[in-house]
Symmetry: C2
Subunit: 429 residues, 2 copies
């Protein structure tokens, strides 16, 4: 039985005609071509971690490498390590590591700053590539920080600049010749719905617009082919499916054809053509180096670089197949085992339209998630009523999904969530 | 003999009438009230580190803390640590740690991003506080990245915005009613010359301008009193005299009186009044929190926070007294022992006009510095001909200065610098 058959049966309808029980899940684990990867992570006992889409766990490669960087490179090498240990090359080197994960060439990617700061660079850069246009087009349900950054830019620039948001289905129709940049998050943070990058990029280009993709919930979760899609610009995050550590450096992608023309507004010294000449006039470095601004956070880069070494051996098609199978299994098991408890699937039912996460809405979503976390099943809650579960194929097992749904069912059956301790809201959930 | 007497004699002229020999330096070390601090740092054998103004060494508190954060907080706590381990509070908490070092209140400082990115936030914010004005005034010899960031802003905004640079002596005269922001680095990166913050801030205010101080080469090196100077805005760096690690988070200061009015353009989600409400319209958080943008780099923050604990016991007046004494000793010894070798003091001779660094120009400055580094005396070279030496009073001894000058003298006497290996230039020096 293949993973897909186990979940959806063989009739091709996509409906869950056979739902794998725990024994069937164990068999799937035994046959999993990615099963060796799990041993490369620190996963605490008693935890089923379904929140790697928010913060990936610690790869064992990280603590050792980080300690060596502190002890040997910073400690003994001191200032000399900028050259001797190659610190100054971190942004380009980690960018090149990321390139195969997004379907880009090594010299089209640079790691730097946060996703939001990188979005600022590329959004302004994209607007300047279409100086006669004034509209940033996005969707209303985009990740709020992306919308906020765009609002900051339109407010800063004035002069008729505008952020226009529409529903996802209206995007193509909204692509008119006012639109300078189509800014979208490839996989929606809340629902897991995945855009058709190739089709939307083509539609944007037909309308004369530049595309800017936020890959925060895609990279390391689904195969990406920026080159094949003719995507113009992209940003992404290092701390979700890439497991680079909390607040890890983010990245920027610029299609080679744009690299000589694009200007970015955060013109710090490390983006200068000759940063150590200390000239008084800014002159952008050729290629991606101009997307650097200040001094790179070396310790954070060391962790991210070590985490990225894991991807060298990963077949992204196998990753995607397992991701789909895990998500399908979860949906099928929740709908079968937790029926009648008011959970409503928010994510697309069709795997091709979904990233590597599954969300269910429930009026008591917040305390249910707190009860799950208390029992070691860690997902997260998103306003207003969404239980969000991420499925990272590198370290999750089919049996983890089975066990997680057992816990969820028990919590719902016993109303274990209906406790004051689970209803108190903390700052971050 | 006090440190000052040892170096400058008792005639009050400031001229080096008595130059301390090594035995006198050892006596000064024995009497040094800061001498206990040195044991808190990892300093490699055979190195005299005169580059802590560029990258501070590893405080012993850092590796242990960083390992615990990776193992316990990230590893076991996973996503829960944003609340449970207080990660989400890092920017405000580290800001509060920094406040006493710059003469600010805890709620006037926030740690985030890089110095250059923070400069962008405050420069745009400062311009908006004076919307009828168009000029950023700075000095021609400011740190290039500061000038570059200002150039990026004037280019971005157009509309007559202008960066105007003059020599330091001309700043006061240049403060007219065109000037929106006076942007200065308090201690010059190249010469160590220190501005009179109180006087220049007063002059700027008389002209109706906002002041923006870059404290990169000041914080942890000289006492600062932003409140007493009525300074409006400031940025600073975590990895120089604060020893927070390469590329450590930087910080922003905004005088409380401006906090409700100032807008910053990098409007990311963590600067939102309710970041986890995920509303679609940006609304700035009250106070300093609005100067956050993306997700904070937790590992880098953990290192910086641990490094900053050292300052809790440091008397900043004692720090400044030792800094002046170390610099005076170095100047006196170089001028006495290396006379006739063409070294020219570039830093101000008057201690009150100098930060905690001393620079000498020499036509062969580059290979001389490489020869020094090869002998374990680590300073750095700055274009075009400057040997730059930083004096961090927490871990340097008077005998280190004596020994460093002995090495310099030997290199000059023997022309040891005149080797091809010392003339090859690397990317960063």
């Amino acid at each position: 039985m293949s993973p897909e058959e186990a979940v959806t049966g063989a009739d091709g309808s996509g409906a869950p005609v056979t739902v794998a029980d725990r024994a069937a899940c164990a068999a799937l684990d035994a046959a999993d071509p990615l099963s060796d990867q799990r041993a490369l992570f620190h996963l605490p006992d008693g935890v089923i971690y379904l929140d790697g889409n928010s913060l990936g766990p610690v790869p064992h490669a990280v603590p050792e490498r980080l300690a060596a960087v502190v002890r040997d490179e910073w400690g003994d090498g001191l200032i000399r390590s900028w050259n001797a240990a190659g610190w100054i090359e971190y942004p380009a080197r980690v960018g090149a590591q990321l390139a195969p994960l997004i379907g880009a060439a090594p010299d089209e990617v640079l790691a730097a700053d946060s996703t939001s700061v990188n979005l600022f660079k590329l959004l302004v850069g994209g607007l300047r590539l279409r100086p006669e246009r004034r509209v940033i087009l996005s969707e209303a349900s985009n990740f709020p920080s992306d919308l906020y950054m765009a609002q900051g830019i339109t407010h800063l620039l004035g002069d008729g600049y505008e952020l226009r948001t529409v529903d996802a289905e209206e995007l193509t129709d909204a692509l008119n010749d006012d639109v300078a940049v189509l800014m979208l998050t490839h996989v929606n943070y809340q629902t897991g719905r995945m855009h058709d990058m190739a089709a939307l990029t083509a539609a944007a280009h037909d309308a004369g617009a530049i595309t800017l993709w936020d890959l925060a919930h895609s990279v390391g979760a689904v195969p990406l082919d920026l080159a094949g899609c003719n995507a113009d610009l992209a940003v992404g995050c290092g701390y979700k499916y890439l497991n680079g550590g909390p607040g890890a450096p983010a990245f920027v992608y610029v299609r080679r054809a744009h690299q000589q023309d694009i200007e970015q507004p955060l013109t710090g010294w490390l983006g200068h053509a000759e940063p150590f000449a200390f000239g008084s006039e800014y002159r952008p470095a050729p290629g991606m180096a101009r997307f650097q601004c200040g001094t790179p956070p070396v310790l954070a880069f060391a962790a991210l670089e070590a985490a990225l070494t894991l991807w060298e051996d990963v077949d992204l098609r196998a990753l995607r197949a397992k991701s789909v199978a895990l998500c399908e299994l979860f949906i099928a098991r929740v709908e079968a085992d937790c029926a009648g408890h008011g959970l409503r699937l928010v994510s697309p039912r069709e795997p091709a339209l979904r990233g590597s996460q599954v969300c269910f809405a429930h009026p008591e979503g917040f305390p249910i998630m707190q009860a799950l976390i208390a029992r070691g099943v860690i997902g997260d809650f998103r306003q207003p009523d969404i239980l969000r579960f991420g499925f990272a194929p590198l370290y999750l097992r089919y049996t983890d999904i089975s066990d997680a749904v057992d816990v969820l069912r028990d919590i719902l059956d016993t109303r274990a969530w209906d406790q004051p301790e689970f209803k108190a809201r903390a700052a971050v959930t």
